[in-house]
Symmetry: C2
Subunit: 666 residues, 2 copies
Amino acid sequence: MEELDYLAGERKRAEFDVDAMKIVWAGSQHAFDVSDRMSRLVASDPAFRKDNRPMLSRKDLFKNTLRKAAHAWKRIIELRLSEEEATALRHYVDEPAYTDLHWGMFVPAIKGQGTDEQQKKWLPLAYKMQIIGCYAQTELGHGSNVQGLETTATFDPDTDEFIINSPTLTSSKWWPGGLGKASTHAVVYARLIVDGKEHGVHGFIVQLRSLDDHQPLPGITVADIGMKFGNGAYNTMDNGVLSFDHVRIRRDQMLMRVMQVTREGKVVQSNVPRQLVYGTMVYVRKTIVSDASTALSRAACIATRYSAVRRQFGSQNGGPETQVIDYKTQQNRLFPLLASTYAFRFVGEWLSWLYMDVTQRLQAGDFSTLPEAHACTAGLKSVTTSITADGIEECRKLCGGHGYLCSSGLPELFAGYVPACTYEGDNVVLLLQACVARFLMKTVSQLGSGKQPVGTTAYMARVEHLKECRCSAQKAEDWLKPNVILEAFEARSLRMSVACAQKLSKFSNPEDGFAELAAELVEASVAHCQLIIVSKFIEKLQQDIPGEGVKKQLEILCNIYALALLHKHQGDFLSTGSISSKQGSLANDQLRSLYTQVRPNAIALVDAFNYTDHYLGSILGRYDGNVYPKLYEEALKDPLNESVVPDGYREYIRPLLKQQLRSARL
Amino acid sequence: MEELDYLAGERKRAEFDVDAMKIVWAGSQHAFDVSDRMSRLVASDPAFRKDNRPMLSRKDLFKNTLRKAAHAWKRIIELRLSEEEATALRHYVDEPAYTDLHWGMFVPAIKGQGTDEQQKKWLPLAYKMQIIGCYAQTELGHGSNVQGLETTATFDPDTDEFIINSPTLTSSKWWPGGLGKASTHAVVYARLIVDGKEHGVHGFIVQLRSLDDHQPLPGITVADIGMKFGNGAYNTMDNGVLSFDHVRIRRDQMLMRVMQVTREGKVVQSNVPRQLVYGTMVYVRKTIVSDASTALSRAACIATRYSAVRRQFGSQNGGPETQVIDYKTQQNRLFPLLASTYAFRFVGEWLSWLYMDVTQRLQAGDFSTLPEAHACTAGLKSVTTSITADGIEECRKLCGGHGYLCSSGLPELFAGYVPACTYEGDNVVLLLQACVARFLMKTVSQLGSGKQPVGTTAYMARVEHLKECRCSAQKAEDWLKPNVILEAFEARSLRMSVACAQKLSKFSNPEDGFAELAAELVEASVAHCQLIIVSKFIEKLQQDIPGEGVKKQLEILCNIYALALLHKHQGDFLSTGSISSKQGSLANDQLRSLYTQVRPNAIALVDAFNYTDHYLGSILGRYDGNVYPKLYEEALKDPLNESVVPDGYREYIRPLLKQQLRSARL
Ligand SMILES: Cc1cc2nc3c(=O)[nH]c(=O)nc-3n(C[C@H](O)[C@H](O)[C@H](O)COP(=O)(O)OP(=O)(O)OC[C@H]3O[C@@H](n4cnc5c(N)ncnc54)[C@H](O)[C@@H]3O)c2cc1C
Ligand SMILES: Cc1cc2nc3c(=O)[nH]c(=O)nc-3n(C[C@H](O)[C@H](O)[C@H](O)COP(=O)(O)OP(=O)(O)OC[C@H]3O[C@@H](n4cnc5c(N)ncnc54)[C@H](O)[C@@H]3O)c2cc1C
Ligand SMILES: [Ca+2]
């Protein structure tokens, strides 16, 4: 029997080897195999069904998540999955759960901040899930400003304990995922107070609930913080609120890798450098960048497939109408997002390399590259998550009215994704205060001082050239040359940073200048991060990439990514004189023709993500394109359709129609 | 007893008369009175409580909406409210309901397309709600392309009836609000077939359900299309699916104002011109523009108040931290949105005038201004709804993590608002195909032919000047001059349109050119629409505006609106040579200083919207700024907090912790 495939025609048009592209997307044959196996395992197990999520009440939704998490863990054990496989399996279950924080934040915090002894004690418990942990940093009153946290941890030398306390309402922990209902333990961040003196914010392992009956321990008040954006989405997670009424923990529950409190109440800095913490941040944020690529690719896959299915206008002589993917406006909104998914993929890959590099250097006592690595991961986290959040919503709009249905999968994808712009550092704060802008200004100020800029800022060493150079593009095709693109992005970024630095230098107090020019500094930081993404895409293409036509497609996508950015930020490029307006116009002409080249490959390029229909969770994005009958089927499942005459008719509709409202009880 | 007001200090800083500004915002003293009275009426009636919406299941949510709609109608009758008051009351109930479509689409369709006789028959029934109607145009397969609708209405001369039929799955009506469960009648759009010949798409009044027991009539299948984006939000609405199996209706149920089918089966064009339909469109879209201003103002109100409450970083010597509204990046994201709410308000006001003008002209048989009015309302609908949708989400992000909670009100506001970008014309289709771009290209092509451009395109008559002129700004303050701003926007818009026209002229087939250049045409259309908004704001300020300091504040907002746009679209202004990059930089300097001027007035400017806490529906946006304790209270109401140990612990958490997973049934 032939399988139904309304997109078969589209698939035949592809000019490259899709299977080879799948390997490129996954990162390696091995990564592809794991991901392929795990996604099928999840998709074929009815216990992981997720299409009913939007219909469940909060309580049922949460209980269902607990069930899935336990089932996933059971499968992981039964099948003796490796860590890599287990991570992939949890990923494809595709439902935010307390286990994300347990594995993604609690365990790494202990690994990163715990002494060897502490790791030996706690990690095995965590690995076997004999305890469930979360990461309790943010409070009701403080998120971005970690140094402003109010929870206290006061050392009591009499009992050799810390007293964890929440002195105010706003000091309640607020937001930690997994905290509300599931966690038995938390890494709690609190101000360390020893002998009346403050020693900054540190992490403490605190048991929250009894391991016998899950009741909160004395002095601990814990609850869920309530509904969040969207149906399903992040409401599967028990983000929690937590306050302490003088809760006592043993001294050895302070994470003491970088700072110790001794039995005698001495505060001792260990010889492990504080910068180590940055290493963990680089790790977490590199994961967020890959996740951005994944989330955006799901949305782009849905919008691309549906745009090939959907026809509207343009029927000639009674023939079929035009596929909306053939409209240039649709292409102009969709293809740059498709290109971005690949761009983010490759910059994410590069970040994995960077993390390894940083780790090795740290072990060798070399901290020189850390500030640059830290700034660049923070910036890339900010830029990729912002584009992804907006991009998912754009993909939803690209699906017209039907994108608004939960069954399109896009609303839940969006609602579940957007907090990535806020957690692990608010995107604006990251660009501005935390690192990027400050790092760039420092780098610029040191140019000419003999100190060579490193890593992703290395181009700034060519400051004299980049300040003066003129873009050489004379015809549209010149914009296909990697060097032309790269130089334009470098010139724009450098000139924006230099302009900021010059303006800053006019302030007598640099902090005043920094505050006043904040918006411009953010723009300069974005320009720098975009350059990084473009340059890593270009570097990727200098590698050997097997598979017929694969490299060619990636080149097209790379050019689309760069030229669409160039058009969107044309104001930057023109105002810095990095290109002329004629050149901007040529770039745009080239962009249009690239759209035409990518068009026949669009479906195959999203097929290369290798997503199961289960994972995509979208009727509009179904592999087979069989959209309309399935939309219909799905609609009929709504509980509201259990009866044709709705509940409430007798009380609230009939009295209106019969003009008997006055006497009705409402 | 003193009332709590954490924002009292902010309110004292205002440099203008807030009460006078309230009148300006409302449009008149009378409009203010009505709106103030109705919003209080709703807020004080516990029957209209809405904070529990996100927690309700779909069925309960819908039943609750039916209850509120009936209660509202009861109050309207009891209090003998005028039409204006009733509309305001329904607005402040703030819950999408079938009544929106009944009053907003069904009644106007009959008024606009029905003959006098038909109006006499149907309108009284509708006015008394003895029937409930909806507007059934869109089908599963066709939304934007109305001419592609598949439902048929075939005239049967034997019985003097039309046979309404759904020949395919994709011909099912799909999306109409109120259709799924509440409506007894619909205006159904279908292809008219008489004697085997097609006569285009027309409206028919079709009864869907029995007035006795609400059961669908024979041949009619109707249901709800299922969950949509967000908690609460549009899920209160029964958007429906409907198909017809040869349903017979009387001939006089075709809406026959512009075209008639006689007893003999003759199709007769009436002497009422078809353009009349555009009049209705102008009406509906002007309402959407005002609604955009309202929705954005709610978001801006929440984000502004919370930004004054929220403090993060910058504490000096243990003093309070900085209010986040004082950060320039926060201002740079927030204040242009605040300015946009006012800008959209005034352009909405102007559209009301335009609608009146068009209506009067139509009655006098003058159709000359109709195409321009139609293009401009379509364009303004598109531009204002897009900015509003993005703007609400930006306001949510401006609230950091807490904006992600349903109790912030922002998620529901967003999810409920975004379809405005899609319904009543997809925003891209409106700019491109439907009207704006085509109208602009036509106008440009006729320049110099002696035909004077009218209305909002009048500036194009100065084509020679605008092609050549150079912006005169030499210092930052020059950007405060209305003429400088206006000319820059006119030059940019004209030059973009002219450039498109020139490119178009190179195509031998204009339609090919139009398709190829679609993205640029959309950009030119946006530029034209932004000019309209800026110019109407400036015109408003030329009027007498009473109240101390009121005009001054509006001038600041007008300048912020224009200069923020100029910065955002700097690429357009520079590439067309409408300003120099030096001038762009001066404009940006001016913008920063305008932020400083508006800052002390920010809270008062959102107070001027006069929103009750009920209507705002946001803990972050509370009038009194008492955010933290209320967030806490709200969280504890979540059903998940009914027990401290969650449902599911025994089955799904305990077995993990106790390592008894193998034997557990999951
Ligand atoms: C879904 C979700 C899950 C989370 N999970 C966890 C978790 O597991 N554990 C945990 O500890 N926390 C968690 N958080 C909390 C999260 O880390 C914080 O919300 C985040 O750090 C932002 O801080 P904030 O909410 O205080 O924002 P705020 O800092 O209050 O931001 C408000 C506004 O002020 C601006 N702003 C703030 N400071 C500055 C400045 N100096 N300059 C310019 N602008 C500024 C911001 O840009 C923003 O627009 C989670 C949050 C969410 C939404
Ligand atoms: C909440 C909601 C309420 C609604 N209420 C009603 C109602 O009461 N009654 C009713 O009849 N309908 C209603 N609708 C339907 C609504 O009017 C349609 O969804 C809308 O007209 C868009 O049409 P579409 O969904 O077919 O989008 P499509 O036309 O399928 O759009 C898909 C994509 O194709 C693009 N596209 C389409 N044509 C072109 C073109 N020619 N050139 C370039 N790009 C193109 C669009 O820009 C979009 O990106 C409602 C919809 C929603 C979401
Ligand atoms: Ca956006």
